[in-house]
């Protein structure tokens, strides 16, 4: 069964450059600032998202 993944995320993943930027930001932010906003540019639009979950909201700067 499909995991939750929005159309916008799938659109980003369909573009190799945007997908690479997207995942790199996730990996980096998870080490440095889990609540950092992930921002991806694609086709003139900026898509933003942020971690939600049990530890979101906790400022963890170095991990």
């Amino acid at each position: 069964m499909k995991a939750p993944m929005s159309d916008d995320v799938r659109r980003i993943l369909a573009n190799p450059k945007a997908a690479d930027d997207f995942v790199r930001q996730i990996i980096t932010s998870r080490r440095q600032d889990e609540n950092a906003v992930i921002s991806v540019e694609l086709d003139g639009k900026t898509y933003k998202f942020q971690r939600i979950g049990r530890r979101s909201g906790i400022n963890r700067t170095n991990g």
């Binding site: 069964m1 499909k2 995991a3 939750p4 993944m5 929005s6 159309d7 916008d8 995320v9 993943l13 997908a19 690479d20 997207f22 995942v23 790199r24 930001q25 996730i26 990996i27 980096t28 998870r30 080490r31 440095q32 609540n35 906003v37 992930i38 921002s39 639009k45 900026t46 898509y47 933003k48 998202f49 942020q50 971690r51 939600i52 979950g53 049990r54 979101s56 909201g57 170095n62 991990g63």
Partner: protein
């Protein structure tokens, strides 16, 4: 024979509750993989069976004007060995058609109630709070982020838009971490059969950085290797553990941004 008749009657009376439960649990994310005993299922079906029978009784008596002789049910159920076993078979014979119509009506009502209840629970997310109402394999709740409650989130009831997974896998060369976005997962009798990831990076698990070290912003160090291919499939049997991170929408802070 009479014991079998009593048991059959009892089963017919309880079956709407079982049907409601089957209709409630049936679906693409069926809870069929959860191990429950027949005894558990019977107990969990008793309450809905009682409620459905009460509703059916009220409808038959008040709407259709039937007079239901509960004493005859009692006499049939207790069996021939009991001294009180004196059912009126003439009356039972005359009422068989109405009884079967009532039973079929109740079966249909049970199925519709089960489907309706499931939709209500899905929409109100009651299953997140109340474990007995859960209709899915527990892995589904974890991997879909449905296990998140408003208390877990910075903003209440944020919808999960993507799930990022770190998967620890044992190889001959040691533990390896695969990181990627979860695309699909397949449930099995034992839990999960396999998971499929997009945009996967791999690194050796023993090459963690120290807490005092920081990575340069928006860049990855040489520890990561990007896996080629469109979709990466990991069998559950090779997974040591999973680290899940859920991502959701963020508030728009400028006119050009699109939040999702």
């Amino acid at each position: 024979m009479n014991i079998a008749l009593g048991a059959l009657l009892l089963f017919l009376l309880l079956f709407p509750g079982i049907l409601l439960r089957i209709a409630y649990l049936a679906g693409p994310y069926s809870r069929k993989n959860i191990q429950t005993s027949l005894g558990d299922e019977l107990v969990l079906s008793l309450v809905p069976a009682f409620l459905l029978q009460a509703a059916g009784y009220a409808t038959a008596t008040s709407v259709f004007g039937y007079r239901i002789r509960l004493d005859q049910f009692y006499k049939l159920i207790i069996g021939a060995n009991n001294s009180a076993y004196q059912p009126d078979f003439d009356l039972i014979d005359q009422s068989l058609g109405a009884f079967f119509a009532y039973t079929i009506f109740l079966f249909l009502l049970a199925i519709l109630a089960g489907i309706g209840l499931r939709q209500l629970v899905e929409q109100t997310r009651l299953d997140v709070w109340a474990y007995p109402l859960r209709f899915n394999n527990d892995w589904h709740y974890l991997l879909s982020g449905r296990n998140l409650t408003p208390d877990d989130q910075a903003s209440p009831a944020q919808e999960v838009k993507a799930v990022y997974v770190d998967v620890l896998v044992e190889t001959k060369e040691g533990s390896v971490l695969y990181c990627g976005l979860l695309d699909e997962f397949y449930l099995s009798k034992d839990g999960v059969d396999r998971i499929c990831l997009y945009e996967v990076y791999r690194r050796r698990f023993d090459r963690d950085i120290k807490d005092s070290e920081r990575l340069p912003d928006k860049s990855l160090d040489e520890r990561y290797y990007k896996m080629p291919g469109d979709l990466f499939v990991i069998p559950y049997s090779q997974i040591r553990n999973l680290n899940l991170t859920y991502y959701g929408p963020v508030e728009i802070d400028d006119g050009d941004a699109t939040a999702f």
